[in-house]
């Protein structure tokens, strides 16, 4: 089966510019996550969707980050305006997890963002 697809793989922008990342989860996976991974650290959850509804966005810096999952499939994550500290790898993951149990998450290759 096809894995989680993300684009672009790499992006370099100047601070205060905007950027958008795209994710296509595994077909049939109702749950989609966006994680931020700063160099040398573990992934940190930004937002979790269940179908097209937000389950958890408590750690999303909402003054500059936004995410949507139209029609419960693809998702986009946007940063506007970007700051230097946003330099990180942005990972999208999907899973079959529902309200009753937790299962493994499948990750995309990530988008490496560099803000200069």
């Amino acid at each position: 089966e096809a894995g989680v697809a993300q684009s672009p793989r790499y992006k370099i922008i100047e601070k205060r510019q905007s950027v958008a990342f795209w994710c296509n989860p595994i077909s049939g996976h109702a749950t989609l996550y966006w994680y931020q991974q700063i160099l040398g650290q573990g992934p940190k959850l930004l937002i979790q969707f269940q179908n097209n509804g937000v389950v958890d966005d408590s750690q999303l810096p909402k003054d500059r980050f936004s995410a949507e999952r139209l029609k419960g499939v693809d998702s986009t994550l946007k940063i506007q305006p970007a700051k230097l500290e946003d330099s990180a790898v942005y990972l999208c993951a999907s899973s079959l997890v529902g309200r009753r149990r937790n299962t493994e998450a499948f990750f995309g290759q990530g988008t490496r963002l560099t803000v200069v």
């Binding site: 940190k44 529902g98 009753r100 149990r101 998450a105 990530g110 490496r112």
Partner: protein, 112 residues
Amino acid sequence: SQQGEEDPQALSIQEGENATMNCSYKTSINNLQWYRQNSGRGLVHLILIRSNEREKHSGRLRVTLDTSKKSSSLLITASRAADTASYFCATAPGQAGTALIFGKGTTLSVSS
């Protein structure tokens, strides 16, 4: 916030040796999972152990879970150079459906 803390932060061994990584966490869990991340790549799921399980095996991997101590260990036997990667434990909090919380990871280097 990051719940899991892996120990050690870095581990260097020779091919054929065993590698043991530990993970401690803070709150109750539904299950605990281990992931591998090769340099510049996404994370790959290795193994999942549920809160009512104490030990689980998968190929050369052995995972233990001690919920009373809130800790887990991952043992990789007969390591290979291809096992060189970062390893993360991820906890699924007690409430089903909640996202995984990752630790900072252990960087394993296996030399031939």
